[in-house]
């Protein structure tokens, strides 16, 4: 049971990361398109400036929690997705320095250069996160020792010989890119005014259409590809609450945004992302990383978890620690709330 509790806690941290870093990644994806002048670009960056680093901490804290609660999963996934993860690291580095270094020098070469690095690294990260999720749903060629190694790509077909990138995982990657772009738009709309806001709002409406179309496509594709999903949902019908949550978020984004309820639209986008992630996690359960070569080699919540003493002890520091972290986050978001100047 304690393993399932930690599975939920890790899922909450990953969802927290996607929702929080997601809007600043999304802002990075769209800022080259919606912000035309230097002043507007500064506004987009100012909207994420004080919070993006804290948002990224969710990835580190989530990774650390995964390492401690599910060491076998951490070891298998991180070494198996070796090349893809290293690219994620390089992109995180480039993105971090592009935000931090941009404002240091006034120059017609310096700022546009870092703006492009920021946009490209944000977009590629969003894409790669989607590809990673696609791999978890599709499964990886885990062997009996509990390890695998994936090249970046092979023949682009989602079978047992697939690399990290095939048409299915690429589809999920594109869905993630567009969903986070929309998410970023709702954030920028919330934080800005005037022309920039109007342009971002228009961009967000178009992105929403893309999100709706991709949601339908990836739902069908995922049910086709991963048989565990249909089985899990028919075994435990209460699980439909997760896809329904995603659907409600998707509709809510449209409705709230149409009525200029900017905060509502952003929150609905959060609900949509959380709904999609939990739907995928529920569909794959009890696996945390299925094997597409031999199902019995798949890593499950129980066979990849750490021993129970450590998991029980962990609750004693994790809960107060994360409550503290939540207090800091609320404080920062309140301190920097309102429109940027």
């Amino acid at each position: 049971m304690i393993e399932i509790l930690w599975f939920c806690l890790v899922a909450i941290m990953i969802a927290g990361y996607v929702i929080l870093d997601g809007f600043d990644l999304g802002a990075g994806v769209v800022h080259l398109f919606v912000a035309r002048t230097e002043k507007e670009r500064q506004q987009v960056l100012a909207s994420i400036g004080p919070v993006w680093d804290g948002n990224e901490v969710w990835l580190l804290a989530g990774g650390g929690t995964l390492y401690f609660a599910f060491p076998a999963l951490y070891a298998a996934a991180f070494s198996g997705f070796y090349l893809a993860l290293m690219m994620v690291l390089w992109l995180l580095i480039l993105r971090g320095i592009s935000i931090e270094l941009r404002s240091h020098i006034e120059s017609r070469l310096w700022k546009p250069f870092w703006d492009r690095v920021f946009g490209a690294s944000s977009a590629l990260l969003a894409l790669l996160y989607g590809v990673a999720l696609g791999n978890v749903v599709r499964g990886v060629p885990l062997d009996a020792s509990g390890y695998f190694f994936l090249p970046l790509w092979t023949n682009f077909l989602p079978n047992a010989q697939a690399g990290a990138v095939d048409w299915y995982t690429l589809l999920i990657g594109l869905a993630a890119l567009i969903a986070l772009a929309a998410h970023g738009c709702y954030w920028v709309v919330l934080k800005t005014t005037g022309e920039l806001q109007a342009r971002t709002r228009a961009f967000g409406s178009k992105a929403w259409l893309g999100v709706a179309v991709f949601t339908a496509i990836i739902t069908v594709a995922s049910f086709q590809l991963q048989s565990n999903i249909a089985k899990e949902y028919s075994d435990r019908r209460w699980g439909y609450v997760f896809p329904l949550l995603a659907l409600a978020g998707l509709i809510g984004m449209r409705v709230a945004s149409g009525r200029r309820r900017d905060l509502g639209a952003f929150l609905c986008s959060c609900v949509y992302l959380a709904g999609m992630l939990t739907s995928a996690a529920f569909g794959v359960f009890p696996y945390v990383l299925p094997s597409n070569a031999a199902p019995e080699n798949g890593l499950t919540v129980t066979n990849s978890a750490a021993a129970s003493y450590g998991l029980y002890v962990g609750l004693w520091w994790w809960i107060p620690g994360m409550l503290l972290a939540a207090v800091y986050s609320v404080f920062v978001y309140r301190h920097f709330s309102g429109k940027v100047e």
Binding site: G64, Y67, F68, A69, P71, Y74, A75, F78, Y147
Partner: protein, 446 residues
């Protein structure tokens, strides 16, 4: 040595060595910034506020570098050391996850307030932001040291099925006796780096005839803090750390000292080249009986030499281990001498006019970095051939499925990327130092 293993070792060694150039400064500077801001609050002296603001800028650039080069460290436990992570994640996953939960959130929150919030916050609140950043970075240091200390001296565990190492006592892990000395030794080394960087910039300004009032504050603060810190490196922290090694890793001690023979009244080698073919120290310059005394507090105590340990227990790169240790000690001694001389002249009121000492302080900038890096190399090379001392060999811990070719690909990638980062970093730091403290803001900042 299998070549994939060599690549994985170099991968971690390169990225962690590069990474630690930044936290060693930020952890030290965090304390010095709190000190500067405390003096500013107590005295109301605007110059101290200006100094603190200047160092916050240097801090922020270093902190950003520390963050972006730090993320790969957490990932590499899994990517390059999968078998180690899987076996030990139930134990040191605790301390690594605690670092994320307790210190990264704290640091990232209050750094934003420290860097951007001075105009919005009251002076006391801004002091609190600086203090919280200090607390966060020193907590972060604690969890990392606790992790490394467990690899040096595993405690609080039991062995499970297969290779699994299970946590048996949470407090045993947190209160590992090895952690105490290593933590103090390491954090005080960070204060040494912070102090000598501060005095180096101060000496540069005085010699260049710029920002003289601020330069004197840098020198005063840095020399006082640096002298206390560098003495504490030797005693009690260095001594405590050394005796931990003597007790728990005696073969490491023999290798560090180049002690091949078992002898009572063992000398300490100041210089010399270990010859691992003929099992002797070439061209040694020895202080008789010093090693016996320093290790066991008795001049005639017996120190066991390398020849009396089984070969498969020997650290696998004895010459590099020996030189790392001797470079650390040699530079540490040099810094002690410099700090004491500067303290004396500061006390007599003649430091600011002493060109020789100012030049020495300015040029001493790289030494604390080199000494700290050499110290970490001593710790990590000394732990070899073990990844977890006595429990798991390094050759049993790497990612078996990640080939040498894939590892080398990403190592070369990191080298290229870090070279670019290094150039950008030096460029920006040069700009900040050239720009100097904001003198014109006197009294008008708030």
């Amino acid at each position: 040595m299998d070549s994939a293993l060599a690549v994985h070792r170099l991968h971690f060694a390169f990225t962690v060595t590069y990474h630690y150039l930044f936290p060693q400064l930020t952890m030290g500077l965090a304390l010095l910034i709190v000190i500067l801001k405390t003096i500013a609050l107590k005295t109301g002296d605007q110059r101290y506020h200006q100094c603190a603001r200047f160092w916050v800028k240097i801090f922020a650039i270093n902190f950003a570098m520390g963050v972006v080069t730090g993320i790969p460290m957490e990932f590499q436990f899994g990517t390059n050391w999968a078998r180690f992570s899987r076996a030990s994640g139930g134990v040191i996953g605790q301390t690594l996850a605690m670092e994320g939960v307790f210190s990264f959130f704290l640091e990232s929150t209050f750094l934003g307030l420290l860097v951007y919030g001075e105009k919005r916050l009251s002076p006391r609140q801004h002091w609190l932001a600086a203090f919280m950043v200090f607390l966060g970075s020193w907590l972060s240091g604690f969890f990392i040291i606790a992790t490394d200390a467990w690899m040096q001296h595993p405690v609080g565990y039991k062995l499970g099925a297969g290779d699994d190492i299970l946590l048996d006592s949470f407090w045993g892990l947190i209160l590992n006796p090895w952690t105490l000395w290593q933590y103090l030794h390491n954090m005080i080394a960070a204060v040494v780096t912070g102090s000598f960087v501060m005095t180096s910039v101060g000496a540069y300004y005085l010699l260049a005839g710029r920002f003289q009032e601020h330069a004197r504050i840098f020198l005063r603060t840095g020399v006082v803090a640096g002298t206390i810190a560098v003495l504490a490196m030797l005693f009690p922290t260095g001594d405590g750390q050394g005796r931990m090694i003597a007790e728990h890793q005696p073969v490491t001690l023999a290798a560090m000292e180049g002690q091949f023979e078992t002898e009572s009244g063992a000398p300490i080698a100041l210089v010399g080249q270990p010859d691992t073919d003929r099992l002797q120290l070439d061209n040694p310059l020895l202080v008789p009986r010093a090693l016996s005394f320093l290790t066991y507090r008795r001049w005639e105590a017996e120190v066991k030499g390398l020849k009396d340990f089984p070969r498969d227990q020997w650290p696998d790169n004895i010459p590099l281990l020996y030189y790392s240790y001797h470079i650390m000690v040699g530079l540490g001694t040099l810094l002690i001498a410099l700090a004491l001389a500067c303290s004396w002249f500061l006390w007599r009121g003649r430091l600011y006019g002493n060109k020789t000492l100012l030049w020495a302080l300015m040029l001493a900038l790289p030494f604390p970095y080199i000494a700290t890096t050499a110290g970490w190399m001593t710790a990590e090379l000394g732990r070899q051939p073990w990844l977890i001392y006595g429990l798991m060999r390094t050759s049993a811990g790497d990612s078996a499925r990640v080939s040498a070719g894939n590892g080398l690909f990403t190592l070369i990638g990191f080298m290229g990327l870090y070279m670019v980062l290094g150039i950008l970093f030096l460029f920006l730091i040069h700009r900040e130092i050239d720009h100097g403290p904001e003198v014109q803001e006197t009294g008008g900042a708030r």
